[in-house]
Symmetry: C2
Subunit: 369 residues, 2 copies
């Protein structure tokens, strides 16, 4: 599977070149990054650590691991840092070498790409037929197909739909998978933005078939630094370590990651802001004629376009205004009537709403709707 350049959001460098404007003038709703920007302490940490890049990064990263263990509510023997989550997905697949993966979709496309590159058989479960919800009923239909050493991959809350599976449902699925000697890989990349506690981290201590992915990138607005974690039982973590580059975490990511995860003020402010603003954005999106946004559990909104206007028309018209949204037509089981937008600052969100209204009104006048 060749990865295409337009496969992911957040490519401001490409858009800036196309539009011939500086990339910091682009309003990027296509990447789901904390709109508060990174914590203020980050700049000082980086400036103070520039001299240290002349040394190899710390191989042990004990301070980073301890900060992460505190932040996620586990022990440092239960986690390993990665250079972003895709590195960790590859390591997990290498370590487990599953006979089969099962991926409820649409979801983050890198899971399927990593499986395909390794010739691992993948079954895609269509979430669209069930209102984008993965629940016990949908899992029941699958159960017979789960042979030993299968791997179920779930993103929770799911990207791009923003749907959240409650803990009690996942606990039942996890138990069933354990009975079948199979694994659950749970990508909680966006869980930090959720206002209720639905993380499965505490189950790591009970279940050796549970693997959880975490992203530091998105919540702390540092995607350029690259930092994520995998959480699992110590036996799996040890196995993952043998497959990892000993210096996979760059010097800045190590020092910055350690500090930001302890920044309780920033963490609280972000949760409070997203919790309110996502609802305001969702309601404003509902008021745009022809748009049907799903209720957002995380920091982004998934939207269905009703009527004849195509997502490509929206994407192109907004791009001319310097606004990027995430065309979702290349996700499994979706078509050209879906897109995703991040929750950004109140001001930026209002610009998006106005622009959407303007573009859609113009299309209506042209008779497309």
């Amino acid at each position: 599977m060749q990865r295409k350049n337009h496969l992911h959001g957040g490519n401001i460098y490409k858009a800036a070149k196309e539009l011939n404007i500086p990339y910091d003038r682009i309003l990027d709703f296509s990447a789901n990054i904390n709109p508060l920007g990174f914590p203020p302490i980050v700049e000082d940490i980086i400036i103070n650590r520039i001299k240290d890049i002349v040394h190899y990064p710390d191989v042990q990263q004990m301070e980073l691991k301890e900060a992460a263990a505190d932040y996620y509510g586990t022990d440092s023997e239960n986690l390993m840092p990665g250079n972003g989550s895709v590195e960790l997905i590859n390591i997990i697949l290498e370590a487990l070498r599953p006979n089969k993966t099962i991926i409820p979709s649409p979801t983050f496309s890198e899971y399927a790409i990593s499986c395909k590159s390794r010739d691992i058989e993948t079954i895609f479960v269509n979430l669209k037929v069930n209102d984008f919800r993965f629940d016990a009923k949908l899992f029941d239909n699958l159960k017979d197909g789960i042979t030993p050493n299968s791997l179920l991959i779930i993103c929770n809350p799911n990207n791009p739909t923003g749907k959240l599976i409650p803990k009690r449902d996942l606990a039942a699925i996890l138990k069933e998978l354990q009975n079948k000697k199979s694994y659950l890989m749970l990508d909680e990349a966006f869980m930090d933005f959720v206002d209720v506690d639905e993380s499965m981290v505490r189950f790591i201590k009970e279940y050796n078939n549970l693997i959880i992915l975490k992203s530091v990138t998105k919540f702390f607005a540092l995607p350029g630094l690259r930092l994520g974690f995998v959480l699992a039982c110590p036996e799996l973590i040890k196995k993952f370590h043998t497959l990892k580059d000993p210096w996979n975490i760059n010097t800045f990511a190590g020092f910055v990651g350690t500090e930001v995860m302890r920044d309780k003020k920033y963490i609280d402010e972000t949760r409070k802001y997203i919790s309110q603003e996502k609802v305001r954005l969702w309601e404003n999106l509902k008021s745009v004629p022809g748009l049907e946004p799903l209720y957002p559990e995380a920091n982004f909104v998934f939207i269905k376009i009703e009527g004849k206007v195509k997502v490509s028309t929206l994407v192109e018209s907004l791009k001319k205004k310097g606004i990027l949204i995430r065309d979702c037509s290349n996700y499994m089981f979706l078509d050209n009537s879906f897109f995703r937008v991040a929750v950004k600052s109140r001001e930026d969100n209002d610009i998006l709403i106005s622009a959407l209204k303007e573009v859609i009104n113009k299309e209506v006048k042209k008779g497309s709707l």
Copy 2:
């Protein structure tokens, strides 16, 4: 194979903790980093790019690839950047899935670790019996064992020995491997420090069974940033891309890497300095009683201890003076009479020589030698 913490040099953070001194007071001869420090432009680039870590790194990295293509003398379709060379080694093994790897040793231990983690059969060729030289004679002995889809892994100049294999020898080996439908992975991590042109890069255009690794880390003194390249024919590069994290290069590594590879003044100064100072250090090491240094082709010296003093005694005594050297006893086929030191500043190298003389004299008086 569990990777042990003391497996590599350059762990100043661990040493500083043990000695209870700040890590920037340690004289680290155990990591082979350019002693001139990183180019002066690096600091400004990083400070100017801090604001950009709020965005994902550029997925395409066209500018970085073009700068690297110019620097290495190839085309951008012939290379792919990596988050350090270990990530790239893993990707290469994933892509080729060799039936067997052949590793002339001692050499960089991560090749064998990556093979072992993937259950790939590995044959280690003992370089010690041939004065640490890998030549046509040694290769001839191996030839019959090379079955289709074998992978020969050579580090050139070799780490830790500093021995260089000339192009004409490698060209013959490459041709023979092509006849046997097998591959050569050539790690040229230290080639930039060599004063003669023995790089095999131009053979990439003729041979689709040649894969070359390059490190930006060591020559430009940026190991904390993480940046390396793999060079190969476009078909292999495309395959490697499907196995790579799209954002594996962090924002700073992308921008800094692009600029430093164009810094001709720094490149020339480094080559000139290393070319002279490595010979001076080698001669001074020869003057220490009981030490037999090999002639260094790159920026480090490999040393055999004659007599009864053990490398562990040297390591511990020097560490108490805040000096780290690389104990080579855990390399394949080596024992506790080998160590490696990097070429550092003239002043630091003289401190090392004095300290070595002092420690060894003390041992001689104790009757160890």
